[in-house]
Structure formats: C-alpha cells, structure tokens
Amino acid sequence: MLRSIFSGLLCLLPLLVGAQQVSDSAIGSTAPSPLPDSGSAAPPSVRWHQLRAEIDFLSPILARAAEYPSLPRKTHWGFSVDYYWRNDLYAVMEGGTGSAQVRYDDLQYDSRNLFFRCGFQKGLFSRTGDQDWDLGFLGIRYGMARTSLSEAWFRTDHYFWGPRFGTQEARTVWLHWVELTGGMRMRLWKGISCGWNLRMKLLANGNSVQELPPAFVAGYGAADRNSAFEMNFYLGYALTWSKKVRERNEE
C-alpha cells in the first residue's frame, strides 16, 4: 500500500521536472547581459547566496514500511544543509540519527547511531539567471557514524555438536566512509524545494567492525559490506540573499 502511494507521488516528479525545464529554457532565451567594457571601472556586481535546509522525508517512512518479522526494525532520520558558494559550487553538511532492532533467529541486538557527513557538490549546468536555483549535481562526501551496540545474543549451529548460545558485550564502534553522490534539486514554490540524492559509499574501516558489523547504520547502510548504495528524497526550504561586491577590474 505504502509503496503504491510513494510511487504515485514520485511519478509526479518527472512532470514537475519537465515543467521546470520549460521555464528554464524560457529564461535561457532572454537576451544576455552586456559585458562590461574592458579598461573602464567595473560597476558593482550582485553576488547571490543561498542557504538551504532539507529533511530526508522518505527514509523514515521507508524504514517503517520495510518491517517484516525477520528483518531489523529501523528508524532513520536525516537532514541536509547546503550553502551556495560560487561558480555552481555548494558546501554541504548532512547529519541524522537512526536505530535498528535485529531479531533474527540466531542473532539479536539493538543499535543506535548518529551520523555526520560533509563535502561539496558541483552543479552540472550553469545557472541561467540569478533566481535559477534548480540544480543537477555531482558531489563527494566524507561520512562518519558513531554506533552503540547493545549486548548481542547469538546462537551458532553445528552439524554434529548441536547449537551453542552466547552473548557479545555491548560496545561502541565508529564507521568512516567516503561517498560519491549525484542528484537534483528543484524549486517548487517560493523557497520550497525538493529533490533526490543517489549515493555510492565506500567504507574505509570495515576491518574495525568485524566482530559484529551493525546490520543497519543510518547514513551508511549495512556495515558488513564495504560498499553501499542509498537513495534519499529531500524536501527543504532555501533562504536567498544578494550582496553587492565590487570586483577588481583585470586588464
């Protein structure tokens, strides 16, 4: 049921993208601004800034929607803040929290984690105007997560000797990873925007969690794999402002 609702909602996104592309092309058809005469004093130019805060609105729902009896019960909350610096370059900081309750027949434990990511992203297409904040981008992130694992109960099955039960003591592990990401953002109305990120992650310190890699780390995924893919859908609000700057005129 939830899948059909989400897929129905998301099917509307390409329509919005198409509409936005039409408006972009309209912007692109306007006459280009005249270049300043070389050699004369440059007039003050306007530099635009944008600070955008977003929440990952689909991951919390998907984490709940994917609950089956034998699977980890999960929560996943995430946010993202990006700042437009210049030349289609954005500085990005992301964070969030999550938890998982693993209840397999042979392995049971709880985990909670906080995660933090930082990096930058570069717009793939030049902005067509001062108010053009639609964006397709590629970026890179460094991520880290602090995961607290409860005491783990386990059962080992042996062909001849029968099962053996035991526990592993509670502990805290740190994960570090780098990720490549790509995605898009588009303005819906005034400062409200939405978009998605597709992420490919490579775990840097998988060896440090070999005793019990968490089945789910919010922000990364399953820690028993050295690579992970994730898709996030964001809804956010952006503040934009301009500032007059007098650029040095280069001969």
């Binding site: 897929s7 994917a66 386990f154 001849f160 028993d224 898709m231």
Partner: protein, 163 residues
C-alpha cells in the same frame, strides 16, 4: 517518455523497499582436515607417503556415533566441539579389527575457541587454534600439527597422522 519516468521511479522505490535478510551462502561449519601418512625407506633415507587406510572408522569418544570412511582413504575431516576446549576421537584403520583394543587409537585435540562473525546473513561460528595433541601409540607412530589455525579455509591440512 512520461511512462518511462514512471517506471524508473517505481523501480527505484521497489529497490529501496527490498530489504530482505540475505540468504547465507557460505558454510557455517568449520572442519579440521587430517591426513594419514607413513614413512617409507628410500635410498636417500626415508620419505613421507600417503597411508591409505583399509576400512577406516572413527568416532568421538563422548558420543556413540561412528563415522565410516571410504575404503582406502588417506584424508578425512572432522568437526571440533564448540562446547569444550578439547575433542577426543578414536580411530580404527581396519574395521575388521574394531574389537581389538590394540588396533584402536585415541587422539585428543586441545584448542582455543575463537568466535568469528561470518555475516549478518549467517551469524556467528567458531574458529579454533590448536594448542596440543595427545594420542595412544597402538597403531600410530606420531601425530603432528601442521597448521594450528582451523578456519573456513577448506584447502589446508591441519594435522598429519603417521602410522
């Protein structure tokens, strides 16, 4: 074009929702591999040769189970107990002599257990580090530990039994 976009998004959502526990595709039991050998006199001195046991049997001393191996076997594998730090087995090279105590040898392996996490799909198992071996000398000449790490590496021979 819009239909394709719709299919794309539906596929992405289906992919995001597919979170079943992966099936365990690797063996969870850890086997210790043993080889049977004999010394043979050669002009240069003596050489190690495979010792093919006629009709071998073995079993664990604290269990009534008996394992019948293929005739003329020189290699076999066994499971160490995860419940204790030692496992004892008896070995008879020729099943027709099973009632003769002088043809039945006992080997006791001492080891340390080490918990090993396979994956979230398979859970835990035990690896073993062999620390010593005791044996009777009715038919056996000696028992040597070749590789003390008993892990999921099935290609390593861990113990050599000399007749």
């Amino acid at each position: 074009m819009k239909k394709r976009w719709g299919l794309f998004w539906i596929s992405m959502i289906a992919l995001a929702c597919r979170q079943e526990r992966s099936p365990c595709l690797v063996p969870q039991d850890v086997w210790m591999n043993l080889g049977c050998y004999r010394w043979e006199s050669v002009p240069e001195g003596r050489a190690e040769r495979d010792s093919f046991l006629v009709h071998p049997l073995f079993g664990y001393t604290d269990s009534g189970a008996v394992f019948v191996l293929e005739p003329r076997t020189s290699k076999f594998s066994l499971l160490l107990s995860p419940h204790a730090d030692q496992t004892s087995l008896w070995l008879v090279a020729d099943s027709s002599r099973i009632d003769d105590p002088l043809h039945r040898d006992t080997i006791r392996f001492h080891y340390q257990r080490r918990l090993h996490f396979i994956s979230n799909a398979c859970g835990y198992t035990y690896y073993y580090q062999l620390t010593g071996v005791d044996y009777s000398r009715h038919q056996l000449d000696s028992v040597a530990i070749l590789d003390d790490q008993v892990t999921d590496n099935v290609n390593k021979e861990h113990v050599k039994i000399y007749f």
